[in-house]
Symmetry: C2
Subunit: 250 residues, 2 copies
């Protein structure tokens, strides 16, 4: 592509009404929505590369994407044009020209996710799409301790989605840099930063942490899940709407 520029986009989205990030035929997706609009602007098919997929119903505060376009539109105008054309549940927070080789997935050093659990008996209407409502008894101390236990390099095979075909035969060892639980009013926020995440991994971690915090799983159980070749599967998979991709670090 002569004259093509590489543009890095920071994208926030409410995943409620989308079948996740990745393009799927006849289903609304974030990537598909962005590609359709960029095709209008570019007058040709545009591939939007993302830092990784998010599942149906999962949100992003700052997903990172990149596109190569020949249209000479200045970046601030591109941002404005996209925000004018996009549905209001997808917003471009930044658009900047970067080196031609930039790839949001392969260049990422780490990613940060947050999972939000609402602890009060009643979940406010305004939070319902953005938290997992779990008002049942659990030990926050145990939740926090089990979260910290995950820091370091582990084989997360037991935490991958059963149908994660992309990862067949590939290493499922990932490094978790930080893994903490914070209380914010009636909300428990679990924040995890790591070198990479398998499909459903964060949601399976959260499901496992909750089981541990309720006393349904002990230390030996957690340890056995983190062992290479674990026979048990982690989980259950916590529901998608509590999960936010917070950011991608380069």
């Amino acid at each position: 592509m002569t004259g093509a520029r590489r543009i890095k986009l920071i994208v926030a989205y409410d995943g409620t009404h989308y079948n996740g990030w990745q393009v799927q035929p006849d289903l609304p997706t974030i990537q598909g929505t962005l590609e359709a609009l960029l095709e209008q602007i570019e007058g040709a098919r545009v591939h939007v590369a993302g830092s990784g997929r998010t599942d149906a119903g999962v949100h992003a505060l700052a997903q990172v994407a990149a596109v190569s376009i020949c249209n000479p539109i200045p970046c601030p105008n591109l941002k404005k044009a996209l925000n004018r054309l996009l549905p209001r549940d997808i917003r471009i927070l930044a658009a900047d020209e970067v080196a031609p080789g930039f790839h949001p997935r392969y260049d990422a050093r780490s990613k940060t996710y947050e999972y939000r659990i609402w602890r009060a008996e009643v979940c406010p209407p305004f939070e319902r799409l953005y938290v997992h409502h779990h008002p049942y008894p659990l030990s926050e101390e145990k939740l926090a301790a089990a979260a910290r236990r995950l820091v370091g390099e582990h084989d997360f095979s037991a935490f991958a989605a059963a149908d994660d075909r992309d990862q067949l035969g590939r290493s499922k060892v990932r490094c978790i840099h930080s893994s903490d639980v914070h209380r914010r009013g009636d909300m428990l926020a679990y924040r995890v930063r790591g070198s990479g995440f398998l499909k459903h991994m964060v949601r399976n971690i959260v499901g496992t942490l909750i089981e541990y915090a309720k006393g349904n799983l002990d230390d030996a159980g957690i340890n056995s899940l983190l062992r290479p070749g674990a026979s048990r599967r982690a989980g259950p998979t916590a529901p998608p709407q509590g999960l936010f991709l917070i950011g991608v670090e380069y």
Copy 2:
């Protein structure tokens, strides 16, 4: 109704998907949704009295309602049953038995509303249903000054909806107890407490405050709108999704 108990309900709702509080044939409303469920529980038609209507798309943190039912269900169980049956965008925050004569509208001393204006260039996806996105230049000092100007007793005829037939011939004098603007990050929150509000009154106040803060209306203009028999109409009417009924004071 022999044995009927009067129950006061505190109701929070996300008004996005409703045609306002008041029952309307074949349209989803908050009152209609509550009445249909209470009829299931009571086995007979139940009238839900509210502290006042909210327009289509307007939200409530703590609307107050009251019902008379004969079903002996304890209040905590009624609250749980309603929250199990209601859609998740309507929540019962409290259910308590009160004096038989309690009426949420006639007994109210004052009501508090908040109107949220998002000032940043980009409106986050998660705020889009709960703010009026107005990133254009305006003077926050003028906004705050004009807000304070409304405190006291005034004839708000110019701020009533043109089609407010319920109020035909009735006094449109209302007393505003407080009227302030606060900044919370990228949001401007206008909070107003008053003895009562006409249809569209808060939204017309906000539209008028913004016009003043943009220099499109001067002090004489505001004064003339507050004069009995004002010939001009206030406004424009700010959009509904920025408005929250915060609470009702008894």
